[in-house]
């Protein structure tokens, strides 16, 4: 690989690049999907290629190709330089990356059991067993079980002396039961352990075994059918307790995205939007109540946003985002860290927070979440319920929507339970809640302790043009919010 990376970096500089980097990426994925007792999808997919990123005349250029040869490296590097020249025709500022980044090393996701060492027979057998469990309850119309495995081997080199090799391994799995009442026009769904197909972690096959998909399948099927006849979530303003997976998504949407500094600076304005967390709010804005502490940490074992270095060669790190309710930091890149210092002064870090991640060889790195988490509090879950006179517990996302500055949100969950006089009561369906981000987090008055906290994976975070899908992690324990509008669905 070194021959190819040196060739690209030398050529780029000869052709006028003040900075250049190259990533060579080989990605293997395996997906297995069982539906109603039939293996409906089973595929092994491979994709490899390289991307060259350059700064020429103070502007960016990037080109990529799937053909790994010296001749193609020359062509693509020249193309990246030509593109950068075109970018320079309409620039309003020079790209400034701050201090050079020069690291070398290797990183490999620690796994106990390599998922590619497990036979397809064993994987299929596990899903078929879960499928049987899901369909054990009559009334389950569609039973789906999924496994997904991912391996990415990545070489990164830049013109400042960095040369890094990383192997990231991920394992994901999940089950879903859909119950249908055609006559009454109702569809209800339950999933485990997370919604939209699966939970995913930077771990090996051990992550799948720990999920115990077959053991949870009968309960998931029963709950899907029970939801058809459950009462509808009432409408009103009440106390809301969010379960950990729904809270993970709440963090993702209302904290993770608005702290992406490229969004703040308008880089995503035409597509995903911007952010209400503008730079003057750093260290002054009350984002949440005193007990709300949020961090972005790319070093958490097993987190889906865990790696050795980001795609600018910056080491993985833990960055404070909200401390005791006060907003204090962003997810940054090398370039945006410099832009922020220009605005808020030298108190802001000079180096990147290490959040630049690319979705493969054919995409540029953009700022993405790592593991953005709500730090645990001090409550036991049973104590939290016992301490709640009147409210609703909601868990596992069914729908999600938030405005383009990440203020007004509305979420729906698969299941909910009424809480009365400190006890969980009747099951509720079609639960929704809505609010404004700082008001909502300001109403947080209890967070469960570390014993209830874990990192959940979001393997489907979309951003950028052309589109990129990131894998992010979110640590969460159940938490309570006061005076929340619930039951929006008419």
């Amino acid at each position: 690989m070194r021959t190819l990376t040196d060739r690209a970096l030398n050529l780029a500089q000869v052709q006028g690049a003040s900075y250049a980097d190259i990533r060579i990426v080989r990605r293997l994925t395996q997906h297995i999907a069982v539906k109603n007792g039939v293996v409906e999808g089973l595929s092994d997919d491979g994709s490899q290629g390289f991307g060259v990123r350059v700064v020429v005349d103070g502007a960016w250029g990037f080109a990529s190709s799937s053909l790994l040869s010296a001749q193609e490296v020359d062509r693509v590097t020249a193309q990246a330089v030509q593109i950068a020249h075109a970018s320079a025709l309409f620039k309003t500022r020079e790209v400034h990356l701050g201090p050079p980044v020069a690291h070398s090393g290797t990183y490999r996701t620690p796994v106990q059991i390599d998922p590619w060492s497990v036979s397809l027979d064993d994987k299929i057998a596990l899903l078929l067993q879960a499928d049987q469990g899901l369909r054990a309850t009559s009334g389950v119309r569609v039973a789906s079980s999924t496994l997904a495995f991912w391996r990415e081997d990545k070489t990164f080199a830049n013109s400042e002396g960095t040369y890094l090799e990383q192997t990231i391994i991920e394992s994901g799995g999940g089950i879903e039961a859909v119950a249908v009442d055609v006559e009454r026009g109702q569809v209800q769904k339950r999933s485990y352990p997370n919604s939209f197909g699966r939970d995913q972690r930077t771990e090996g096959w051990e992550a799948i075994l720990a999920m115990d998909l077959p053991g949870n399948a009968p309960r998931v099927g029963e709950e899907a059918v029970a939801l058809l006849t459950a009462d509808t979530c009432p409408s009103g303003v009440t106390t809301l307790i969010l379960g950990p997976t729904q809270l993970a998504l709440q963090i993702h949407e209302s904290c993770g995205h608005p702290i992406e500094l490229d969004r703040v600076f308008g880089a995503e304005a035409s597509y995903a939007g911007t952010s209400f967390l503008t730079p003057e709010k750093v260290r002054t804005f009350r984002y949440g109540s005193d007990i709300v502490n949020l961090t972005a940490d790319a070093t958490i074992p097993g987190g889906l946003g865990t790696f050795g270095w980001d795609d600018e060669g910056v080491p993985a790190q833990r960055v404070p985002i909200v401390r005791n309710g006060i907003f204090c930091g962003y997810l940054t890149s090398r370039e945006t860290a410099q832009q922020l210092r220009d605005i808020v002064g030298t108190e802001s870090p000079e180096t990147s927070g290490g959040a630049m991640r690319a979705d493969g060889w054919n995409r540029i790195p953009i700022i993405r979440m790592t593991n953005v988490s709500l730090e645990p509090g001090e409550w036991g879950f049973d104590d939290l319920i016992a301490d709640t006179d009147d409210g609703i517990y909601m868990e596992l996302n069914r729908s999600w929507s938030i405005d383009d500055k990440r203020l007004n949100f509305q979420f729906g969950t698969e299941i909910a339970y009424e809480i009365k006089n400190g006890k969980m009561g009747r099951m509720l369906k079609n639960a929704t809640y809505t609010g404004m981000t700082p008001v909502f987090w300001g109403s947080c008055d209890a967070i469960c302790d570390a014993g209830h906290w874990r990192v959940w994976g979001t393997p489907n975070c979309g951003k950028g043009q052309p589109g990129q899908t990131a894998h992010t992690g979110h640590g969460a324990a159940p938490a309570r919010f006061r005076n929340v509008q619930v039951g929006v669905l008419k």
Partner: protein, 454 residues
């Protein structure tokens, strides 16, 4: 671009080597570039060259209990990698239990050749893209505003071959521009799509967004509630896409999840509404066959308000007696099922001006943002307005309003129809694969359930 001859050579070599009972090869190539701008300058500028080969093999179960299917893909075109991928697909197929529902890969059917390729788009240079994006940036700068957006040019090839004699090849180009122009308190949006980059009028797109931005300055808060709305085609496209996700697939219908379930042949929306899929129409972006090489049929999904049907691939068609694929397969493996990718919403006879003039009090919506199904069986969707929302009073745009959240059944909205626009707009469709064409709509009793601060 590999060209039809080279692609056929690759496909034939795999088919000749395969020991499976049936084999399918799908080859896609991409030569695309995207120039992205923000703060009125180019900040991301990228290009990609890729070619991928996906191989699906089918092994008949000796006991006649169905078929074992394996899929593997690679983007390496050397002979060793291709045959390794074929081997991987065969290994996968051998290891899995038979699928009793699988009938067969499709056999050959005549495919209409449609022209959808522009040399100008395929050969578009970075400088030309920069000048297109720059034209919009300069307009914004001159008005003291900032522009953001993206200009894509792409040349794509799709080929499908199988051991039953199918060989289908299509090449196409895409030129797509979208922009948001922003001021301190407002923003405006515009977008356009063409096969030929020379058909995109960048200044006109810039002016449309700029005018919307200027008009929506200093928006005022408005109480949520039920309002008459006039929806530009940008917003109406979301109706098509959400109805696709929640109901236009045969799999959704077969599983009872579709809003059409149990209602085929019955009126479900206003009789003026007709929605269809047509991969061959020159009014869209032609895509003559699907990812199984089956020619695309026109499918009337809703005709004069009546639920008429859904789209099929060969697998979902095999589950129903007498059905054949309508040519709407997605790449295998695919548990979601077939989808319509070339949607049309039939136009009416009203102009936007007439819609506004006939409105006593209502809201004018440029587009929606971040929409998601809340109750798929009724197509209840929630989302925000964005980039130009206005109050209409006494037949005129009165003033801009802050963005609102809606939670509304799109089916109900299509039953509360006042008028359908005369003019239609072609916009990039789901996943950027194809395009949709739709008019503006005027609808009463549209339910807004919240508001934001801008």
């Amino acid at each position: 671009m590999l060209g039809q001859e080279r692609i056929k050579e690759i496909a034939d070599s795999i088919l000749a080597e395969s020991t499976a009972d049936q084999t399918e090869v799908v080859i896609q190539t991409t030569d695309s570039a995207l120039t992205r701008f923000a703060n009125s300058s180019i900040h991301q500028n990228v290009a990609e060259t890729d070619a991928s080969v996906s191989i699906r093999v089918v092994l008949a179960d000796p006991a006649g209990a169905g078929a074992r299917i394996g899929v593997a893909s690679t983007n390496s075109l050397d002979r060793v990698a291709l045959f390794h991928t074929l081997g991987a697909a065969l290994s996968i197929a051998r290891l899995q239990p038979p699928n009793p529902d699988f009938r067969s890969l499709p056999g050959p059917r005549p495919i209409v050749q449609v022209a959808a390729f522009s040399e100008a788009t395929a050969g578009c240079t970075p400088e030309k893209r920069a000048r297109g994006a720059g034209a919009i940036c300069l307009l914004a700068r001159a008005a003291g505003l900032v522009a953001a957006g993206a200009l894509t040019t792409a040349a794509l090839e799709l080929a499908v071959a199988n051991s039953l004699g199918v060989f289908a090849y299509h090449r196409t180009t895409q030129a797509d521009i979208n922009t948001v122009i922003m001021g301190d308190t407002s923003s405006g949006y515009a977008a356009a799509f063409a096969l030929d980059v020379n058909d995109l009028d960048f200044e006109a797109i810039g002016r449309e967004a700029l005018e919307k931005c200027v008009k929506s300055r200093d928006p005022r808060p408005l109480e949520p509630g039920e309002y008459t709305v006039i929806l530009e085609p940008y917003a109406v496209q979301d109706f098509l896409q959400m109805m696709t996700w929640t109901g236009f697939s045969a799999v959704a219908l077969q599983e009872g999840r579709s809003f059409m379930a149990g209602k085929i042949g019955q009126p479900i929306v206003d009789p003026r509404v007709s929605i269809w899929d047509d991969g061959l129409s020159p009014d869209g972006v032609p895509l003559p066959f699907d990812f199984e090489g089956v020619p695309k049929q026109r499918v009337d999904l809703i005709e004069n308000g009546v639920a008429r049907g859904v789209v099929y691939d060969s697998y979902s068609a095999g589950k129903e007696e007498g059905k054949t694929s309508t040519g709407h397969a997605l790449p295998a493996p695919n548990t979601f099922g077939p989808l319509p990718l070339n949607l049309f919403f039939g136009s009416g006879d009203a102009t936007l001006e007439e819609m506004i003039r006939s409105t006593e009090r209502g809201i004018y919506v440029t587009r929606f943002h971040y929409t998601r199904p809340v109750d798929p069986t009724r197509v209840v969707i929630t989302g925000m307005t964005r980039d130009g929302t206005f109050l209409i009073e006494k037949g005129e745009i009165a003033y801009p309003v802050r963005n609102l959240r809606f939670t509304q059944s799109y089916l109900e909205a299509l039953n509360h129809l006042d008028s359908i626009g005369r003019d239609t707009r072609l916009l990039t469709g789901m996943g950027g694969v194809a395009c949709d064409r739709m008019p503006a709509l005027k609808v009463h009793q549209f339910r807004f359930t919240g508001a934001t601060e801008f």
